[in-house]
């Protein structure tokens, strides 16, 4: 895992939380997008987190909720959020 202030082109930062983080065994990675990785849903497959993003998992891009098929841009922070249990 590397922490760089300005990630190079084609790199996104991926974050996992809570149960999802523990299941995957990591919480934060800088990932170089492979050819054909255009969205958070594609990234989910590239990272071997599963086939499709489960409907219970929400996606945030740059700390705002987003649809899993939203196109990614280099430098984006993509987070996969298990069901929320705050309050």
């Amino acid at each position: 895992m590397s922490h760089q202030a300005a990630p190079p082109d084609g790199v996104v930062r991926v974050r996992l939380f809570a149960a999802l983080r523990e299941q995957a065994g990591w919480g934060e990675r800088q990932i170089r997008l492979e050819a054909g990785t255009a969205s958070a849903a594609d990234l989910w497959r590239q990272l071997a987190l599963g086939a499709d993003v489960p409907t219970t998992i929400r996606v945030a891009i740059n700390q705002a909720f987003a649809a899993p098929d939203t196109p990614l841009r280099p430098g984006d922070e993509v987070a996969f959020l298990p069901p929320i249990t705050g309050g």
Binding site: F17, A18, A19, E22, T85, G86, G87
Partner: protein
Amino acid sequence: MPTPSPAGHPIVVRLLEAPFQPLELLDAWQRSREPSMAVQAAESHFIGRVRPTTASGAPLEALELEHYPGMSEAQLQFLAEACAARHGAGAVLVAHRVGRIAPGEAIVLVAVQADRRGPALRCVQELLEDLKHHAPFWKREWSGGSGTWVAGNTPL
């Protein structure tokens, strides 16, 4: 100390890593409101505290609150602003604990001032539901030395 929103509805959001006294926070908030605004005739609060048992009834050692730093503050601010605008509320305070929280400690505080009781009461109720479902917080119950992620929110 968070700054009030530039929008018409002053919103204060606090994310707290240490135990807090809800009434002390309310007192500071009320004092901060008094000089700036006309009297708001209605004010409603909600305080949520950690139960002494887990969802399955075992004694709870602590509740752990994980969050998404940055996004959690932004979402609380966004949800509070939206709720205030929807109900025409005059001011909103949201405080939420993160980290390890002991049974009996306060975990969440929501307070709303409005000109009438309806908007104040409804905004507290809706904001509480909103943040339970749309702010990135995750609860883990610690009991008997092991932690279990909470699967869902407690029923209304």
